[in-house]
């Protein structure tokens, strides 16, 4: 009996959109709530603890000394010898990898779309492959097989041209890490941009060509505007991951020499799990959260509408 009555009301409410959707709210919230609750817990509990730890003196080497110290930990972290280099390295790393992957990503995917050459499918597979390699593997393959100053491939290339081989990770640590990380994330940009380009209207392109537009004009006025949204997506997703690059530094340079390749993530790890200074690491963690949030606010403002407007 009850089921028929609900069916009747359902049918009665169907023509008007709003009342129907309002009545369906109940099962909706019930089903969403586990996800929301878990994610809330995941954000609030550890973050709350981080906030608490950041204002007390807390070093695992000196247990029992948990006095309230106000903003002392922040002061120490901000004046730490590693903070400025860490901050700068984070910005350089994120900025240059973004630049490399977007610019080269657009060019390479445009190249692949330019003509139907032999083996296009295979080149596509080869191009996106590095994205699926786990970070510790890419770091060690680059460190040992490519960068190694004696037996690495680059050393062989340098010798071939009569130059002195370079000890990449010791002499140019940050550049070397930028190259490794770009190698991992350029394929991601190619993957996204290539797919986006395939959805570009071929007829429109053909029409432009018949109107006498050259390939560069077509690329500039038709392809690039079409790519605005996918490029925004690439920038956003990569920023999320690039702000917390860790394994690549951990397995290659350990942040060195000195602080030359330390980013914020590595600096905080170093503070927490190598020097056991929980208070200071927490202060650093909060600063990292603030920086990520500034980036997030800018990005979501820029892209949020872009992402949801389709639905």
């Amino acid at each position: 009996m009850t089921s028929t009555t609900t069916l009747d009301t359902e049918r009665a409410g169907a023509p008007q959109d709003r009342p129907a959707s309002r009545r369906r709210v109940k099962p909706g919230w019930f089903l969403v709530s586990p996800s929301v609750a878990l994610l809330l817990l995941w954000m609030i509990v550890p973050l709350g603890m981080t906030v608490y730890f950041s204002v007390i003196r807390y070093n695992l080497l000196y247990p029992g000394e948990n006095d309230f110290v106000g903003l002392e930990n922040f002061e120490y972290f901000l004046t730490d010898a590693g903070f400025m280099p860490g901050m700068l390295n984070t910005l350089i790393l994120v900025g240059s990898v973004l630049l490399i992957s977007v610019v080269l990503g657009v060019l390479i995917s445009a190249l692949l779309e330019a003509a139907d050459f032999a083996g296009r499918g295979i080149t596509r597979v080869l191009l996106i492959s590095p994205f699926f390699i786990m970070p510790t593997v890419s770091a060690l393959v680059w460190k040992n097989l490519i960068y190694h100053p004696v037996s690495g491939i680059l050393a062989a290339v340098w010798r071939f041209f009569g130059a002195q081989p370079v000890d990449w990770l010791a002499q140019h640590p940050l550049l070397s890490i930028v190259i490794i990380v770009s190698w991992q994330w350029l394929p991601f940009a190619i993957l996204i941009l290539m797919t986006a380009m395939q959805s570009l209207d071929q007829e429109q392109k053909e029409a432009a060509r018949l109107d006498g537009a050259g390939p560069i004009a077509i690329f500039w006025h038709l392809t690039l505007p079409h790519l605005a949204r996918p490029i925004a997506v690439v920038v956003m997703i990569e920023t999320i991951f690039l702000l917390s690059v860790f394994a690549e530094i951990f397995t290659t340079t350990s942040g060195g020499p000195g602080y030359a390749s330390t980013n914020l993530a590595y600096l905080i790890y170093n503070q927490a799990l190598l020097q056991f200074d929980v208070g200071m690491a927490s202060a650093g963690g909060l600063i990292a959260v603030v920086i990520a949030n500034i980036a997030a606010i800018i990005l979501v403002r820029m892209l949020g509408k872009n992402l949801t407007e389709k639905y």
Binding site: R24, L39, S129, I133, T136, S151, A156, A247
Partner: protein, 277 residues
Amino acid sequence: MLTLKQSRRLNTTLVGIAAWTVALLLFFPIFWMLLTSLKTEIDAFATPPQFIFTPTLENYLHIQDRSGYFRYAWNSVTISFGATALGMLIAIPAAYSMAFYETKRTKGTLLWMLSTKMLPPVGVLVPIYLLAKQFGLLDSRSVLIVIYTLINLPIMVWMIYTYFKDVPRDILEAARMDGATIFQEMTRVLLPISKGGLASTVLLSLILCWNEAFWSLNLTSANAAPLTALIASYSSPEGLFWAKLSAVSTLACAPILIFGWISQKQLVRGLSFGAVK
């Protein structure tokens, strides 16, 4: 003077050469890793690097007694599948209700979920480490399963949401008219229709879990260490282990590489939060 047809063909050839050059350059480190895994340690360390050598499978044959590979591989498998299963279980109902019972708050909730991805892991490293230690979960697989589920949940909800959005509402209405409960509506109608999309969500989650290397390096040591941690343990010894390292790395990456090749088109949707299809 070239005819139009000839110049088109020339153009295609030039583009092809350029594209192949770029592709081979980008793929080279992977190719080189595979090649090194087939060398003896002496060949692997040789100067100049050897392109022609007598291949050997020795590195693969002795992989278990040299590195205990299978224990780490098993950890990777259980953690990835555990986190993926748990994630799907939580994400499907959420995506279902957001796709079919949309409210004013749905978009906000989706964006909020996305914003939890902005929380850098180092921001919560200390408390998670201490909590895990407190509960005796340090170096256990369950703590990684829980963390991976949570960090991938937003992506999974988004991805499934975009697939559910493509399902015609009429089909679900019809099932509802026939008296199906929400549970039946989901299991009998919705899930079979969108199984392709769900499969690619599962693949994406497996890939992300398999390759995750922040939490696995910080929270595991001996018992629960997955492959990412096994490979990181090769970072200290210099030389003489390269062939072995390459063999372990090749085996660790091969399944994910194949998953990635199979599902590249569908992954785009998940990785771009539905913005690019």
